[in-house]
């Protein structure tokens, strides 16, 4: 097992605070602990710092208790799935991994020819002319790890024309560091998913083992399209930031569906049968406004906090000096943090709109109707209306990178990145700036591009796609 390890004598007391970073490169075969720090690694050879620390792959970091380090190490050696960097520290017992995809195989997925691909932990570049299948490869990775695609709603649309069976499967390490095997089998319109040995008919079962994020040219929709894209963005951040964020959003969505159903069943207000029925409606309204106010206040706070970060990334990515800002546009004005006040206002607004709601059969106010303003800080003009294509694209990228930051906070592991042609329309300056940002994220990256020679970084592995055939270069 080829192994390189870099020992960093960070502290004098090596027994409690010795620190060991281990990284695998093909160049080294054996290691020995030069620190004699009690890790039980005698018999392996570790080149010390003087022998030349080498640059580590931008991959996951594992922080493990020294007593179980050997166990981890042996496990990864034996399974040949050793990933990247270990940090062993005194008394902490914590392990954070970001997942890695080692293998992807597919059959009859879009225009791709059957293939089985192996990936390393670094940057894999997928090169090829447009329309040859680069994006399809990234999409296949997204389907099999997340259970959905940013491009289509149902898997049927992603199966090769007139194929009667299609499948994708992957192997890798999940975010808890355990080996993961997942697959989707599509046969005659029905989908079966498999996670390790467990079969299911639900695509949702695929979600949760690996955190994969796809960024591509269609992200510009975040700026250019309607408010639902921007709401989805901020809700993603909300569920990453707050423990009960996802629960809150699900409860709101469910209660909204209940209330809408009540309205729809009594369209025109003629069929309200009893006072108890009205009281049920009022109970639903009260519940919805309480949940809604909480969402609105949190979204607003989150945007106040993240607006400078988006602006900073926007600034880094654009050569110009303009700054952008984000602001929450709520159904009612959201003041500083007072949920009960916002709830009262939202409740008043909903009551005022009751006639409209009864005639249309839908809930007319609340966080599901809100928007986020993305505008130039200087003169307040909205990017959607007055920004150039390049400015909108840059703002969407900046928002995407902020989402990665929030997503890779303390709680969540950094994601595997699928970057679909996002360097294409950027000038050399922006390309370099973006590359720096991505390198700082330390994760496995897949980059699809028509012009590999223009990429501002070197690939660890290169694939070439032509007419659905994928070759390694």
């Amino acid at each position: 097992m080829p192994v390189t390890a870099i020992a960093e004598p960070a502290h004098q007391d090596r027994h409690t605070e010795g620190r060991l970073l281990v990284s695998m490169t093909p160049a080294h075969r054996r290691m020995r602990c030069m620190l004699h720090c009690g890790l039980g690694l005698v018999g392996f050879a570790i080149p010390c710092v003087q022998c030349g620390p080498r640059s580590l792959h931008p991959t996951e970091q594992v922080l493990v208790l020294r007593t179980i380090f050997l166990q981890y190490f042996m496990f990864f050696s034996v399974t040949q799935s050793y990933l990247g960097e270990y940090t062993v520290e005194g008394c902490e017992i914590e392990a954070t991994f970001c997942g890695v995809i080692h293998l992807l195989a597919q059959n009859q997925f879009r225009n791709l020819m059957p293939c089985e691909l192996r990936f390393g932990p670094g940057v894999t570049v997928v090169a090829g002319k447009n329309g040859q299948g680069k994006t399809n490869l990234l999409e296949a990775i997204h389907w099999v790890t997340q259970g959905f695609s940013p491009r289509t709603r149902s898997f049927d649309g992603a199966v090769k024309w007139q194929a009667d069976e299609a499948w994708i499967r992957m192997e890798g390490l999940g975010k808890t560091g355990h080996p993961v095997r997942q697959g989707i089998l599509w046969r005659g319109g029905a989908v079966v998913t498999k996670v390790d040995a467990t079969e299911s008919r639900s695509l949702v079962a695929l979600h949760g083992n690996l955190h994969v994020v796809m960024m591509g040219p269609e992200d510009i929709a975040l700026i250019k399209d309607g408010p639902d894209q921007r709401r989805r963005w901020v809700d993603l951040l909300l569920s990453a930031r707050y423990t009960d964020g996802l629960d809150l959003l699900m409860r709101y969505r469910r209660t909204l569906a209940q209330r809408n159903r009540w309205l729809k069943d009594r369209r025109g207000g003629t069929q309200v049968s009893s006072p108890a029925d009205w009281q049920a409606f009022e109970a639903l309204t009260e519940q919805l406004s309480t949940l809604g106010a909480t969402i609105m206040v949190r979204r607003s706070q989150l945007l106040q906090e993240l607006s400078p970060q988006v602006s900073a990334y926007y600034h880094d990515l654009s050569s110009g000096a303009e700054a952008v800002e984000l602001e929450y546009l709520g159904s009612v004005k959201v003041e500083e943090g007072d949920e009960s006040f916002v709830q009262a206002k939202l409740l008043r607004k909903m009551t005022a709109m009751r006639t409209v709601e009864l005639s249309q059969g839908i809930t007319a106010a609340g966080p599901h109707r809100d928007d986020i303003a993305v505008r130039f800080a200087l003169h307040g003009a909205s990017l959607r209306e007055s920004g150039s294509q390049g400015q909108c694209r840059t703002a969407a990228l900046a928002m995407g990178i902020v989402a990665l930051d929030v997503g890779s906070g303390k709680e969540v592991e950094p994601p595997i990145l699928l970057l679909d042609d996002i360097f294409a329309e950027l000038d050399a300056y922006r390309r370099n700036a973006l590359a720096d940002l991505i390198r700082a994220k330390k994760c496995q990256v897949f980059v699809a591009t028509p012009r590999a020679e223009d990429l501002p970084f070197s690939a660890d592995a290169m694939l070439h796609v032509e007419a659905g055939i994928i070759r390694s270069v």
Partner: protein, 220 residues
């Protein structure tokens, strides 16, 4: 050791890999039985399959005992006329007991919820089974729940209504609805506390439970 000739990145698909998925055809009547079982609450397709195969392995007598037990329970058990929990007598033993505290009513969604409270033995009052929670999506409005009956009972002099409903959004809406319908009635309304199970190590409590436990903290 012989090395594969082709580029190792792009192996040809092996038979085992094809077998990664295997779907076996099932006889129609067995399939039907599995479908019946998987319609039961808490039983997934996999457990349903296991139970169905278990049933097939039983003797005909045992299977008849099973079907008889189901029919008999269905014939003899009915909701109590007062609290609507399932019982073979009317009123049910709890409603009939002279030892129960008649000034307290614990409101639950379904009959089976009562078992948990009774197992503890800490609660000595009466119960009221709503028969579900407010859910327009499932066609359940106030008239589908036994709320009028609850109002009737409360108006006959009850000191406390304990709303022991679940944690779903529908349960929350039902609590709000009952609170509204009780209106100006002076009866005390309480909800059960949510929090950390007694005796559990804090390390193993999930984040949501922890959050709810913090929200529901009480002063010393």
């Amino acid at each position: 050791m012989r090395l594969p000739k082709q580029n190792p990145r792009f192996g040809i698909q092996s038979p085992e890999q094809k077998l990664f998925f295997h779907l076996m055809p099932t006889p129609p009547s067995l399939d039907n039985l599995i479908r019946e079982f998987s319609g039961l609450p808490g039983i997934g397709r996999k457990s349903a399959r296991r139970i169905a195969y278990h049933v097939l392995g039983l003797s005909l007598d045992s299977v008849q005992d099973l079907t008889h037990a189901i029919t008999e329970a269905k014939e003899r058990v009915h909701p109590c006329g007062t609290c609507f929990q399932f019982t073979e007598t009317n009123p049910c033993p709890i409603c009939a007991s002279p030892r129960r505290d008649r000034t307290r009513i614990c409101v639950v969604e379904k009959s089976s919820d009562i078992e948990a409270f009774e197992a503890g033995g800490a609660y000595q009052g009466l119960y009221h089974v709503l028969g579900g929670a407010l859910s327009p999506l499932d066609g359940i409005g106030p008239s589908e729940l036994r709320i009028p009956e609850l109002m009737q009972r409360v108006s006959q002099g009850v000191a406390e209504v304990i709303l022991a409903l679940g944690s779903s959004p529908e349960a929350d809406a039902t609590v709000l609805l009952i609170d509204r319908m009780l209106g100006a009635n002076a009866v005390r309304r309480t909800r059960l506390a949510r929090g950390i199970p007694v005796g559990s190590d804090l390390e193993f409590v999930d984040e949501m439970t922890m959050l709810r436990a913090f929200e529901g903290r009480v002063s010393l």
